[in-house]
Symmetry: C2
Subunit: 158 residues, 2 copies
Amino acid sequence: MLSIKFLWEIMTAKENGEMFTQLTLEIFKLSGMLNNEGDELTKEFGLTSSRWKILGASEMSESRHTVPQIARTMGQSRQAVQRLVDVMTKDGLLNLVDNPNHKRAKYVELTPKARKIFYKLFDKQIPWAEHCSEGLSHKELETTLKVITMISNKLSKE
Amino acid sequence: MLSIKFLWEIMTAKENGEMFTQLTLEIFKLSGMLNNEGDELTKEFGLTSSRWKILGASEMSESRHTVPQIARTMGQSRQAVQRLVDVMTKDGLLNLVDNPNHKRAKYVELTPKARKIFYKLFDKQIPWAEHCSEGLSHKELETTLKVITMISNKLSKE
DNA sequence: ATTTAATTGACAACATGTTGTCGCAATACT
DNA sequence: AGTATTGCGACAACATGTTGTCAATTAAAT
């Protein structure tokens, strides 16, 4: 039975699929640009986008996290985060503190030096983010965030 | 003069800025995931996400493009694209053909082998994209694509 | 309790992104 | 026309992402 409704669903799926493909390309593009922006913003503190994200993931959560936990939050491999954490520990930005629940997986903690930098960056990032979102309505941003998050969640469940 | 309207604009800017920051993190996450998805999809053809994108940028445009042109389309550095193109040329996927308008910058062209792979991938990608966009309305996807593109354009103009 | 499976850190190999430099080619300016 | 700037290919150095392996730890299953 080929009802009108069923045909419509097929058409919509096709149109959505094409738009999704386009969206994918734009996300790759924007991701690279935002990475470069982050590198610029953090340059004066001797940081990069990736290291800034590690600081954020460690500092902005309520409880302390291990390396694999940070990796899962960021949707990245354990090893990528591990290497960054190792370097940043050597640079005096992070401390690895004992985890009573696990002999190997230690907690990642910001040093006072890193915390100072992080909150300076926080202040510096606010006007930048406001500028970037100029011309976009609250509603549009909300929808975009929702859609991106939904896709992300969908892909991570498979 | 602090009108109500002006105060509202400040508040919206602040909320938008915070949402933009959140969006940035989700875009980083999704970009990485989509990259992995692309690697999976292309694996059977001996390709990767990045090389697939080069094929798409070269094949899906009306006119032929040089390496720097492809780079600008993808929002990437000339050198990153150049290296991929060099490897893919060596692998028999691309040909560099003479450009009458420029002695150095040649045109990038797909070989028949690459074209065959590309259109197989095209077919393979359609149901994948339709699956990924399930549960999202046309309107939502449209808004998302528009917002992502607007941000991308804004950043590239600075 | 013992066996089995999943998680973790360390290390390596590799893919792909960036910036930077160099010499040549194309363009713009005066 | 002549000069200055910009664009391009070829390298190189480096940052950061992936996968894969190994041994040790933790968690789960029986």
